[in-house]
């Protein structure tokens, strides 16, 4: 629940990140190798927010970095890992196995039903029965009940209203109208379900000139961050940075080596511009050579 009518929400990354509070339920947009709001997550790590509860479908680098950066308490994503490119998510796996982070793994559709209930403004939505899955044991808030119409067993998924959705867009205006990019995954639903949405965008313009995917009144802050999804992709602007991920995976083998990664890419650069100097952005832009 949140409506943001203000005409100018453009702010610095630092300022926008302060809108995220300790313990907040956060929904990162994108999925797996694309369009995750990584520049924003680096800023959250620098600010040292604590105990975030992440929600989302299948994600990878975003959650693993946030967990490795020490800002996450609970992960309610349905999958956290790389794919057949780099395999398991090293920081996430370690933190869960050591009991430092709670994995409240969800199913994609039950997660979406929770967000959808929040988006619709109803206290729950009825999901077809999946009581045979042990995922139910990780979610005591899911209640079995009898359908008032048919009598069949259904699962009540309570409204899941993130405190904040953080979505990386291709284009936004200062009010917050935003054009995301394929694949859209669950971004539009996340914006609608959340108390507020923060848009990081490759470019902020005066007039969009096209229909936004996210209407401005859902958006509390707009930040211009070119290459803001790096090392994940934002098609067609730039691709997934496999070299960077390879370095990340290598440095994630222990908390000590991961500190090197954080020093080099998160704590080291004075600003996002400085960060970009560490990256071969030209190579990433010229991906479409097939």
């Amino acid at each position: 629940m949140g409506i943001y009518p203000e005409p100018n929400k453009l702010m610095a990354l630092e300022e926008a990140a302060e809108l995220v509070k300790d313990g907040d339920i956060v929904a990162f947009g994108g999925a797996l190798s694309v369009r995750e709001p990584i520049a924003f997550i680096r800023e959250l790590i620098r600010q040292g927010v604590k105990n975030l509860h992440t929600v989302g479908t299948a994600h990878g680098f975003d959650i693993d970095l946030a967990v490795g950066g020490g800002i996450v308490g609970v992960v309610q994503n349905t999958y956290v890992g790389f794919e057949f490119d780099f395999g398991l998510a090293p920081n996430f796996r370690r933190a869960v196995e050591q009991g430092k982070v709670v994995s409240k793994e969800d199913g994609c559709n039950s997660l979406i039903y929770g967000l959808r209930a929040a988006a619709l403004g109803v206290p729950f939505l009825p999901h077809l029965n999946f009581e045979t899955s042990d995922i139910m044991k990780l979610h005591p808030e899911f209640k079995k009940f009898k359908c008032p119409i048919t009598g069949q067993t259904l699962i009540a998924i309570p409204a899941l209203e993130p405190d904040v959705a953080i979505l990386h867009a291709r284009l936004a205006d200062k009010k917050g109208n935003a054009v995301i990019a394929k694949p859209y995954v669950a971004d539009i639903l996340m914006a609608r379900a959340s108390k507020k949405t923060i848009i990081t965008a490759e470019k902020v313009v005066d007039k969009l000139g096209k229909e936004p995917h996210i209407p401005y009144f859902e958006v509390a802050a707009v930040v211009e961050v070119p290459f803001g999804a790096h090392p994940t992709a934002l098609y067609p602007d730039y691709t997934y940075d496999k070299d960077h991920i390879a370095e990340y995976i290598r440095l994630s083998r222990s908390p000590e080596t991961f500190r090197e990664y954080l020093d080099k890419y998160v704590y080291g650069p004075e600003s996002h511009e400085e960060y970009l100097k560490l990256i071969d952005t030209e190579k990433l832009k010229n991906w479409k050579t097939w």
């Binding site: 999925a31 797996l32 190798s33 694309v34 479908t57 299948a58 994503n77 349905t78 999958y79 956290v80 890992g81 794919e83 057949f84 490119d85 398991l88 998510a89 996430f92 796996r93 869960v96 196995e97 994995s103 793994e105 969800d106 199913g107 994609c108 559709n109 039950s110 979406i112 959808r116 999901h127 077809l128 029965n129 999946f130 009581e131 045979t132 899955s133 042990d134 995922i135 044991k137 990780l138 069949q152 067993t153 394929k182 694949p183 859209y184 995954v185 669950a186 539009i188 639903l189 992709a233 098609y235 067609p236 691709t239 997934y240 479409k288 097939w290």
Partner: protein
């Protein structure tokens, strides 16, 4: 003409798709991706293929990607759908075929993608089941695949099976506790249909719902199956050899569907050395 295990599995999985089927797969699914696309270019031109949660509808990628959100999976797509919209097809009984894998797979086709150990003592956190927990209780049928049927030995000397007697955690529901246990609870969807591994193909016994060997791959014996499977599968008297790919299928697979060989990334290196004569 020779072919390899990745090709045999891709073709075998593709043939399980019928013309007109609605086909979907999740994250980390190179073989399903290749199989869905191959089916569409061969015997199932009217199948409806959603290329993972990226939502590309019937894309025509010039090659395949390791990552399910890769831009190549939108090339030529007729539409890009949001993930919530695609999931609704399953609950409506309109998703005909999905593909699921698992770190552990039990004799009833229940899958574990969540954890090794127990909820209170997690030895290994697996990446997660993504849509499986819900969709396995909704889709008309799902196909289980694994390229890790062969048991291996852990660093501590323990034998590790993928096909186990009982999964540590049921992420996706197969035939649950066997018999009519799934149906009795009012779980929707038809449950698991086949299991395709690097050793052979299983169906499920109609009554007990226990995995039942159907075919073995050309270089595999029934003893290999028994040795690498922790549970006791049903083994009929006559087990045939898995039907080989046709030359057409191989050509389309190699030239049009997956020229860069993405299908191979799922396999341990040694498996890829297996060659079969057509």
């Amino acid at each position: 003409m020779e072919y390899t295990i990745d090709e045999l599995m891709a073709v075998t999985m593709a043939r399980l798709i019928k013309d007109g089927d609605v086909v979907f797969h999740g994250v980390a699914s190179p073989l399903p991706m290749v199989a869905a696309r191959l089916a569409k270019l061969t015997h199932a031109p009217n199948s409806i293929y959603f290329a993972g949660t990226g939502g590309g509808m019937n894309p025509e990628p010039p090659f395949m990607a390791t990552m399910t959100q890769d831009a190549v999976l939108f090339e030529g797509a007729e539409a890009i759908l949001t993930v919530d919209y695609i999931f609704n097809l399953a609950a409506r009984g309109e998703m005909d075929v999905m593909f699921f894998s698992g770190g552990q797979i039990d004799k009833y086709g229940n899958l574990n993608n969540t954890l090794i150990g127990s909820i209170d003592d997690i030895k290994v956190k697996l990446p997660g089941g993504a849509g499986g927990a819900n969709l396995s209780c909704e889709v008309n049928k799902f196909i289980i695949w694994t390229t890790r049927h062969r048991k291996r030995v852990s660093s501590s000397g323990r034998e590790i099976y993928t096909l186990v007697e009982k999964v540590d955690f049921i992420t996706s529901t197969g035939f649950y506790e066997g018999g009519d246990s799934r149906e009795r609870l009012g779980i929707h969807g038809g449950g698991p249909y086949k299991t395709v591994t690097e050793l052979g193909v299983f169906g499920f016994d109609e009554e007990t719902k226990i995995m039942k060997l159907e075919t073995i791959h050309p270089d595999v014996t029934v003893d290999d199956i028994i040795e690498n499977t922790m549970f006791k599968p049903i083994i009929p008297d006559d087990v045939e050899v898995t039907a080989p790919p046709t030359e057409d299928e191989l050509e389309i697979l190699r030239e049009k569907v997956d020229p860069t060989g993405v299908r191979k990334v799922e396999f341990p290196k040694d498996e890829l050395k297996r060659k079969f004569e057509l």
